[in-house]
Amino acid sequence: MNYNWNWSVLFEPEYLGWLMSGLGWTISVALCAWVIALVVGSLVGVGRTLPNKFISTLCTAYVELFRNVPLLVQMFIWYFAVPEMLPEDAGRWMKRDMPQPEFVTAVVALGLYTASRVAEQVRAGIETVPKGLSSAATAQGMSVAQVYRYVLLPISFRLIVPPMTSEFLTVFKNSSLALTIGLLELTAQSQQIAEYTFQSFEAYTAATIIYVLIALTATVAMTLLERYTRIPGYVGKEG
């Protein structure tokens, strides 16, 4: 093994700037996609548990479709195929005039993909709430919407905070796939530094450390949220 170490390359303003800009993109893609995932995922997850057969089948189809196609393929379909499939004007707008096309595409693809995983957690959460509670609410004369609004959702959303932590971490890791459509996020920047300087070890180490720091920060944030949202005395909550 012969390798010329040169850690100082990481602190040269140019390359340090690349890393920081990559970090910025990684965080922006992940957080924006997470917002989409939470909104769409909650709707789809709730939809799967509804008594209406049509809606629940539609939501199940969404989950199966987005979960069983690799994220990379989805990213390419959004970026390369969708503009071709849309009516001409819309397609041309996506290809030419849409601002930040790589960023927007990455956020949409990652968001809708993660939504299918969030939906599964939401559904599982709703199904964990004991049947008796919603029966009692119905017996009180609550409508389906009220049962969800006042009974099922407040409990289940607090129950699913712990499993959501791992989905939240995954969204940061999966944001690295944006590099395949040309977004220079953290992984792409570290590879670019490796190519320019031949200091691959240093460049990848820097990216690795930053990802670990992101994971630690996200874990701490979610642990705080978990403590704040925990339902005191709820069965099965401890350990």
Partner: protein, 218 residues
Amino acid sequence: MGDFDFGVIISNLPFLWQGLQLSLLLTLLAILGGIVLGTLLALARLSGIKPLALVAAAYVNLIRSVPLILVIFWFYFLVPLAVGRPIGGFYSALIAFVMFEAAYYSEIMRAGIQSVKKGQVHAGQATGLGYWQIQRYVVLPQAFRNMIPILVTQGIILFQDTSLVFVVSLRDLMTASSIVARTEGRLVEMYLFAALVYFVICFSGSLFVRRLQARMAT
């Protein structure tokens, strides 16, 4: 949308089939390697030997906090350096996948091993079996049985993950589709076709898992 060209898919089927074979081979070998290494990591974490458990835990947590693409880049750089000569993209990718998936498999196996009742281990000790004999004949067979559905699910995820070898231009199904898409100028057809193939395989896999779970529940 009107001029969807099936011809381009059919005329390139042999090339795409080669890609799919590479995806499947990579998946299979990575599952085997990942389970073996993952089981060893899980045993290390549960061994009660402090330094060993710490190293294994550190490895698992490190790998689980970085993206797979970065791990692939790492091993593309490290493996030839460690071996001293280039050994080809396939082996570098395979090693990257085994090292990456082992971290996830070890978490599955750890849960599986912990699901085996303590009394089983004690009974093994009482009959005079050693540590490795207990693991080999008592704990692991039961742990594997309990874990089969999750192991298969992880295998499906792994199959989807192999599409990421695209970043190092290894010719799996994804890379093959994208090569055809570019050379023939048929992006819509090729990417939708790739999505369909992945979907059919992964969806069948998850139906199989559901059947397994139903059978184990009874």
